[in-house]
């Protein structure tokens, strides 16, 4: 029983950062059908910003990181994605890869490819021990923040002026524009929000790992993307559930696969993802706009 609870706690730990990354990617996809692979680089640049500004006062550094990543997300949207907004999704996807590589290699140039150690909020990495089950404090914080951000996002989308416009744009972009929704502004707001999500991941990720490198965001963007696909492209709740699911699968397979097969764990994770998609091609939670309307 303890072992099972520990696997469950481990799964939640592993899944929480995936869920937050997936939320950032899912948000942009829902609105402009763009799979933003540069989201990983938003996280990476946030981490470097955190390191550069951490010295005097931690809350200030977190604010600086938030501001920097929001600005970066807005700039990326303005410079890279706005000119190709009307292009087909493949063009958008290729553009996002280009932005991702550009930012990554820019940081290889500026900061070098060797990872840098950076101790940040290491007290958070220590675990709470409940009975015999360990949960790092950081993961409780991460899960808490994920839930709060999800709730805030839901409130924003359902109750605020911008949120309603954003949902309208997600349902039918042209129709929304005809009705007076300002496309540029709505998309900019969405990017700013994905910037907030990326910056939060930067802070939590650095606290967990204590190391920075220009390629640190790759895995999170990849898993974040897979999670949104499982959850149902366009569904925010789906993205979060997908993130936790991939985390849970990873931990469960790590615990149950025989040692010789563990190096190929990822293959098993993705095989299960494929099975899920075969059963539910549109993911677990379909986005409303994906449904056929008569």
């Amino acid at each position: 029983m303890t072992a099972f609870l520990q696997v469950l706690a481990d799964a939640a730990s592993q899944g929480s950062l995936y869920a937050l990354s997936a939320l950032g990617i899912g948000l942009i996809f829902g609105i402009m059908r763009l799979v933003n692979f540069a989201h990983g680089e938003f996280i990476m640049i946030g981490a470097y910003m955190l390191m550069l500004s951490a010295a005097p006062y931690v809350p200030l550094a977190i604010l600086a990181t938030l501001a920097a990543v929001i600005l970066l997300a807005l700039l990326t949207e303005r410079i890279a994605f706005r000119p190709v907004r009307r292009a087909n999704p493949t063009t958008l996807l290729v553009t996002s890869f280009a932005v991702s590589f550009f930012l990554q290699y820019l940081f290889v140039l500026i900061e070098g490819a060797r990872p840098k150690g950076f101790d940040f909020l290491s007290s958070l990495a220590e675990p709470f021990v409940i009975g015999e089950v360990r949960v790092p404090k950081l993961n409780i914080v991460t899960i808490g923040i994920t839930l709060v951000l999800l709730a805030a996002l839901a409130f924003f989308l359902k109750r605020t002026h911008f949120g309603i416009q954003m949902r309208a744009a997600a349902l039918n972009f042209r129709m929304a524009r005809l009705l007076g929704v300002k496309a540029n502004r709505i998309i900019a707001v969405a990017f700013a929000m994905s910037g907030v999500l990326a910056a939060v991941v930067s802070v939590l990720y650095v606290a967990a790992r204590g190391e920075l490198s220009p390629v640190m965001g790759l895995q999170l963007a990849l898993v974040g993307f897979v999670s949104t696909v499982i959850g149902g492209m366009g569904s925010l709740l789906g993205a979060v559930v997908g993130g936790f699911l991939v985390g849970a699968l990873t931990v469960a397979l790590q615990a149950s696969l025989p040692l010789e097969l563990r190096p190929f764990r990822e293959a098993f994770v993705f095989a299960i993802v494929i099975v899920v998609l075969l059963a539910r091609p549109r993911g677990l939670f379909r986005g409303r706009e994906a449904r056929e309307r008569v």
Binding site: A3, Q6, V7, A9, D10, S13, Q14, L17, Y18, Y105, V108, G112, A113, R114, P115, K116, G117, F118, D119, S122, A125, E126, P127, R134, P136, N139, Y205, A208, R209, G210, E211, S213, V215, Q219, L220, V223, T250, V251, Q254, A255, L259, R262, P263, R265, E266
Partner: protein, 390 residues
């Protein structure tokens, strides 16, 4: 067919002439570095290449090799194996008699294969895969790195010397090197030294967090130490292990040498790294310490890792072999290198044979980490070298 032969002859004549046209002045010999000067692998080639430059300064100050001053030319592989061959050709066309290649079998072998084809000695800055040599490339390819069988077995024997009996093996599966060190450790460890209390795998590149692995270490209750041959992404794993309250000694190979990552686990204690030498100013070997001091004087800061020694030792080794052979000819120099038996180089006593162009029993220095501070402990040499498997 005759026309083809003529064409080939023409090409080889043309390239021969081409090389002749740009080759070194009579009082110079060229060493070419076809290595990663930019992108992902650049930081790993940087330290050994700087070491090579130090050795070249030293040798030139004493009059050079066979009376010729050594001159360095470079070509960037941009950390791309596909660019390796071009980079090797670029330096060979400038007259390189020795080609330095990247610190890894997968990334360094394309340049080495090209050098082999042109009859030039290729030296990997520090590849640890035993394939780097006769078996994987050819008779002119050497590496100054310590072979993974050496590192794995040395760690096992040293752990046994500490009196430990039960190991937890955390095998990083991200690259051949990290897997191979874990496997050779296990092979030597189970050969009468101790037992395995638990095992798990991890991938330093893709495992963002490692709660599952931490649970398996906790479950191996009688483990006395953790063997962790990690690569990039290793320090975050150590941070998470320590944060989870696991204080067991951690043994690491040369890949986790250096204090550039210690900020990730600032108060790390009870950890041990096997290295070529100490970059912390306390190496018991004065020859090593002298190289470290020269490095600081020339480049303004101490080296980031001890791989600086392998770069230095390559030039040392090559210069000795050339002097003994009396020529720069690749085959003859290789024959002299193969006669090295416990040759004293700054990287340690070095042996090459006609079978092994990699070090399989060189003594290595154990560095202890306490409270985030590195301290040289002792040089230790493997007694029983495991059989190399491909």
């Amino acid at each position: 067919m005759r026309r083809l032969t003529a064409l080939l002859a023409g090409i080889s004549l043309a390239t021969g002439l081409g090389a002749g046209a740009v080759s070194a002045a009579d009082d110079e010999v060229i060493v070419g570095a076809a290595i990663a000067l930019s992108s992902i692998l650049a930081p790993y080639d940087d330290a050994p290449f700087k070491g090579a430059q130090l050795a070249i300064d030293d040798i030139n100050a004493k009059g050079g090799v066979l009376g010729k001053k050594i001159k360095v030319v470079t070509a960037d592989t941009k950390s791309d194996p596909a660019q390796g061959a071009n980079a090797a050709i670029a330096v060979i066309e400038q007259g390189a008699e020795l080609v330095l290649v990247t610190c890894d079998f997968d990334f360094g072998s394309p340049a080495a294969i090209t050098a082999q084809g042109k009859g030039k000695i290729a030296f990997s800055l520090c590849a640890g895969d035993p394939k780097f040599g006769v078996q994987g490339i050819g008779d002119l390819a050497f590496t100054m790195g310590n072979g993974t069988p050496n590192e794995g077995a040395t760690l096992a024997e040293w752990a046994a010397k500490r009196g430990w009996k039960k190991a937890f093996i955390l095998k990083d599966v991200q690259v051949e090197y990290t897997k191979s060190v874990a496997d050779y450790f296990k092979g030597r460890w189970l050969d009468g030294l101790g037992e395995v209390a638990g095992e798990d795998t991890v991938n330093g590149q893709t495992d963002t967090q490692v709660p599952g692995q931490i649970s398996s270490i906790k479950a191996a209750k009688d483990a006395e130490f953790i063997l962790f041959p990690g690569g990039p992404g290793g320090p975050p794993i150590i941070r998470q292990i320590r944060a989870a309250g696991i204080d067991l000694p951690i043994l690491m190979p040369n890949s986790l040498d250096g204090n550039y990552w210690i900020e990730a686990v600032p108060d790390l204690s009870n950890a041990f790294v096997l290295t070529m030498g100490s970059i912390y100013g306390d190496d018991p070997d004065p020859a090593v310490q002298a190289v470290m001091d020269k490095f600081k004087a020339k480049f303004g800061a101490p080296p980031v890792t001890s791989y600086v020694l392998s770069g230095y030792a390559i030039i040392e080794a090559w210069a000795k072999a050339v002097e003994r052979a009396g020529t720069f000819d690749g085959q003859k120099v290789a024959a002299e290198l193969e006669k090295f038996k416990d040759e004293p180089l700054v990287a340690g006593l070095t042996t090459f044979t006609d079978e092994w162009h990699i070090n399989l029993n060189r003594p290595m220095l154990v560095i202890e980490i306490q409270n985030g501070k590195h301290k040289a402990l002792e040089r230790t040499r493997v007694e029983k070298v495991p059989e190399v498997k491909f």
